[in-house]
Symmetry: C2
Subunit: 670 residues, 2 copies
């Protein structure tokens, strides 16, 4: 046989990195990529293009196009992600209203759009316009009474079941990867793992359609997490159009990191928060260049969504708020309490959800995903309808809870007893005693809170697209609003107490319950996901005011501490563990306190270490070694005797090298 | 002599990294630090603390304190930087007004504060209140007429000269490092260079005081760059309080990066933009942990400044704006033109300023810094006073140029001819023909623009604290506002032209000249500093609207391209080169196209390469080698014959190792 000197030694192994492989980029499914090789291959590509570009004008133009393809991909991702987010918002709006009734003038109008077109509605009856017909009005010409209520109730449940059934069937038949939030898998993919088809075109299409269906069905889930998955699918699609990215798994992951940022950007209307989310939560390799490109993609996506204007308020999200009153130092106490609540909720949710998902994996339950979805949808719809706070869509609920009670607010939550001597002011309404409506709302909110907490645990992880940002925020917002109203009433009735005396005079607007709702939402989201800075920045972009940074930070940090005390894992890490993905967190700090020699002991009585030696091995020896063992790589040493390490050869590299060698030697023979 | 086997070979050199050095952290002045050693020393420190923390409760508490010291330093930096920025703003406000007159009720009140306290002023005469006395009114009881004008003129010049003289004398006598913007030096320091005293307490004190003086003197410079230097001085001060940072130059640089972010955060009221500025423009080593801490410091600093509320408008900067009308696609053309102007201004400024600074360094001019400052101040004051747009402070000018003409605007720039049939609307004023005031303002702005362009070139680089963000922005804002008014009048008078017909109906508010001013400011700042993303984010935080991202991006990118076409260096890099600092940009991409063997040739007839050999060298040999050559390090090879490289030893390490060795062998002898 031939002497294998040509392929031994670390120097020669290094040379392989410079040579183009015959089947590069074709990692197998469920394998991990080699970051160094991908980087080195990209440098190679770049070197070739640069040297070629001096040859002709055409090559020069091609090199320019190549340099700009990164920005082009970002532009395309931003445009598509923004458009999809806008379409999803519009469709969800229409289909959520479809559960209640239909617009006579044009069936594709949502309740609000239908009433825009009718001229006769004044501000007071904006919810009652003749063109919008509830199902009871349309079917039995009856808008009041028990039978009409039952008919509407039934229609609500029927539509919800129909949407959920459609969604779970589509997912099962066409794209099984479209289920879940997708963030645990994207984290794993970005760390270098390969899951073929997870970011494919079918997944993109089916996830978009089913996302609309499940959100409209009224299940306790959000569209924010899945939007990140959708944006990453867009990123994968566009990167396959440019050879720079399609042929290099490392570069492709840079694009995906930026796409994740664009996804959060449109999900929360927070472009900067999106980039930081990508950086803090999902990305693995994030060079500075990717940071700028992520910004660009996130801004383009937000601007596209802003141009579509799905909510008709020129804001990117339904729950944008502006507060007018400051907060006081003494309020930090309830804010921190909300942080503790958020941390406890995070722990409870992660523990129960993981336990339930494990049961689903191991028992018969996992075999009937359609039935499970139908059952959960039915329970959700039956319980949700009677309570006004669970009947509507969750983001509308969050929006109402976040809002401050202005003079024009008609919500039940703002049913305060007005001072008859006071004319209706436009702004800066002082604290007032709560009316009947507020007390009713408190009861309903408490029931809604318990229901949300329980049902979300069972919903997240079913075989449908489901995000948990929105349910978590809703839980926090409900708890926060209740605490806020409590503090407000306490301050109103007892403004002579020592803690209130300094900052809350009678007739002043001391407490903003909406701010408590927002702080609670941040705390609960933080407890579940363990985000800190990106969470605060997202919330900062939602309120658009520096003033509320301190309450948000206090709650987010408390919630993280409390949750970390019970277990270090966030929900995404927990799901990664549950599914057994090979994920190694790059942000973990490993302080190396022991040396290898202290813990490594030569194993007696076992076969010696499988190694390659520098000079004395033949190709046959190497082939035998590969066949007889299943290690992923072998150390290269000087000789069996000295065992001085000079390098490391991967199994994959060896197989490729031997095949290449055989092909070329066969060529030489003929 | 002893055989030096113990100190040769790369393996043994590695061991040195683990051992504490007797004089660690004591790099000499104007030396570059060893990043790897600093990092390894920090790991060491951490390892020790963690192992100790298990010994007793006190050690455990100490380890907790150590872990939290990073956040504590950030909190302190944020608080101090925010406070200093607030104090500087208040002092500048008062002293700028002092050039015009004085408040009778309390001399420490600025014009605006003085008139707040007087009850009798209505909205119309807010600028004329009896308690505020111009110098002519106070000294000769005359407020109108030529003699009063000349007296005020003289007082203006005198105060300006006094402030400038005080500033330059303080800098010369107490802290020569306090001059300039400081950003080039901070970039160099953060890349690992040591300049003792550059971030010292004296520099902090003197720079803060003189910054107030020079800005008040009316010179064409800004406080934004120096504020970054001031914040870095705060960072250096607080990091010297914690042994974790004071004893490790690498860790100290992490704190300084965060401090730079806090500086920009308070300079522009843009906490997120500040962090990105630190990342894009000044930092060298920026791990993820530092990113979060920078955010924290920037937010605390902004919140502190917000609590001081120096401008009384609950905004962080004077030139915060909110626009209400959208922009149209056709407007991208003038925006891109402004980008071209910004790029040209950047090139012109950098070329001329560097040429002038070189002349200052090489000719006699550099020997009379006080005289130079006095002369430039005198010229500035004499030329600036007659023109209302140069008389006031530059940030007030920018604020006026950015502002949209509302119904209550009394500025000359808003002197449009109102339609008599129209009642005064509150918002959304349609385009109107320009009045006499606007035409006068255009002339004055053009003259002010030329003056600013010329004088800024001579001002930046004098021996006083001087930033160029504000002058650059002023140049751009003036050019932009003029273009904006031009386009507005064109659209008003020719709304039947094909380019206007689609988007500008008569009686509509088509063009916002203030937006043009903002775009121009961004373009000019981009041309000078070559920032892109952080610039757009800073401007985004100033306007608080996603809508204007596209115009700002278009202008910033155009300006960078145009400026880059004439020379790749931004102003900071140019000054680093001019001063010969050893700065290697970590963000430059070096594509390695050649191998060392292709370009390295053995030099014939010259002495052989100075190397250490693995086995055959004595301590004496090493000492001789160190004495006879002045290289910073030596390659370690197996032997003279094989010259196989096994490592590299630094001169510094060798000297320390030999000293240690001699000390210990002497101990052994006695």
């Amino acid at each position: 046989m031939v002497n294998a000197g040509a392929m031994s030694g670390s120097g020669n192994l290094m040379d392989f990195l410079d040579e183009p492989f015959p089947d590069v980029g074709t990692y197998e499914d469920f394998h991990t990529i080699d970051w160094l090789r991908e980087k080195s291959r990209d440098t190679d590509r770049h070197r070739k293009i640069t040297s070629k570009s001096k040859e002709s004008i055409w090559e020069f133009i091609k090199s320019l196009l190549d340099a700009w393809s990164g920005w082009a991909v970002m532009l395309l991702i931003g445009l598509l992600a923004g458009t999809l987010a806008g379409v999803i918002d519009l469709a969800v709006d229409w289909m959520t209203d479809l559960k209640e009734g239909i617009c006579l003038s044009a069936f594709w109008y949502s309740h609000e759009q239908c009433c825009w077109t009718s001229n006769e509605t004044t501000f007071e009856d904006r919810d009652k316009c003749p063109l919008w017909q509830k199902w009871s009005e349309l079917l039995v010409k009856q808008s009041e009474g028990a039978s009409a209520y039952i008919l509407n109730y039934l229609m609500y449940i029927l539509w919800a079941l129909l949407f959920a059934f459609l969604a779970v069937s589509l997912v099962r038949v066409f794209a099984p990867y479209a289920c879940g939030s997708g963030i645990p898998e994207i984290k794993t993919i970005l760390s270098g793992f390969i899951i073929r088809g997870y970011l494919g075109k079918w997944t993109l299409l089916i996830k978009t359609v089913t996302l609309v269906l499940v959100v409209s069905s009224g299940l306790s889930l959000g569209k924010e997490g899945p939007l990140v998955h959708v944006a990453c699918c867009c990123g994968n699609f566009f990167s396959s159009l440019f050879s720079k990215y399609s042929k290099n798994e490392g570069k492709r992951r840079e694009v995906l990191s930026a796409a994740a940022a664009a996804g959060v950007s449109v999900a929360f209307g927070a472009p900067i928060g999106g980039v930081l989310f990508s950086l803090e939560e999902v990305s693995y390799y994030f060079p500075l260049k990717t940071l700028w490109r992520s910004f660009f993609a996130a801004l383009v996506a937000a601007f596209t969504l802003r141009s579509i204007n799905p909510f008709g308020n020129s804001r990117l999200v339904l729950f944008y708020v502006e507060y007018h009153t400051p907060w006081y130092m003494a309020e930090l106490f309830p804010f921190i309490l909300l942080g503790v609540f958020g941390g406890l909720w995070g722990t409870l949710f992660i523990r129960c959800n993981i336990a339930w998902c494990r049961r689903r994996k191991t028992t018969k339950l996992g075999k009937y995903p359609v039935l499970e979805v139908i059952a959960v949808t039915a329970i959700t719809a039956v319980v949700a309808y009677p309570n006004p706070y669970t009947r509507r869509s969750t983001s509308e609920l969050i929006s109402e809870l976040f809002n401050d009670c202005g003079a024009l607010e008609s919500s039940q939550l703002c049913d305060y007893i007005n001072d008859p001597n006071m004319t209706r002011p436009v702004d800066d309404i002082p604290d007032r005693p709560a009316g009947v409506g507020v007390y009713t709302a408190m009861w309903q909110l408490a029931l809604a809170l318990i229901f949300k907490i329980v049902i979300t645990i069972f919903t997240f992880g079913m075989k449908i697209p489901s995000g948990l940002f929105i349910p978590s925020m809703a839980v926090g917002a409900m708890a926060g609003r209740m605490v806020g109203i409590g503090v407000e009433q306490l301050a109103y009735h007892h403004h002579d107490w020592i803690i209130f005396r300094n900052w809350c005079r009678p007739g002043a607007d001391c407490v903003t319950p909406g701010l408590y709702a927002m702080v609670g939402a941040a705390a609960c989201l933080g407890g579940v996901t363990r985000m800190t800075v990106s969470l605060v920045v997202i919330m900062f972009e939602l309120t658009g005011g520096l003033e509320y940074i301190v309450p948000l930070m206090a709650a987010a940090v408390t919630s993280k501490w409390v949750a970390d005390a019970f277990g270090k894992e966030g929900i995404y890490e927990a799901h990664i563990h549950l599914n057994g993905y090979p994920f190694l967190d790059v942000k973990d700090e490993f302080t190396h306190r022991t040396l290898a020699t202290d813990v490594m002991r030569p194993r007696r009585g076992e076969p010696p270490l499988s190694v390659l030696t520098q000079d004395s091995m033949t190709v046959e020896d190497v082939e035998t070694l590969i066949k007889e063992t299943d290690y992923n790589g072998f150390p290269v040493v000087v000789s069996r005797d000295s065992e001085r390490l000079i390098g490391f050869a991967q199994r994959r590299e060896l197989i490729l090298a031997i095949r290449d060698f055989l092909v070329s030697s066969r060529k030489r023979m003929f």
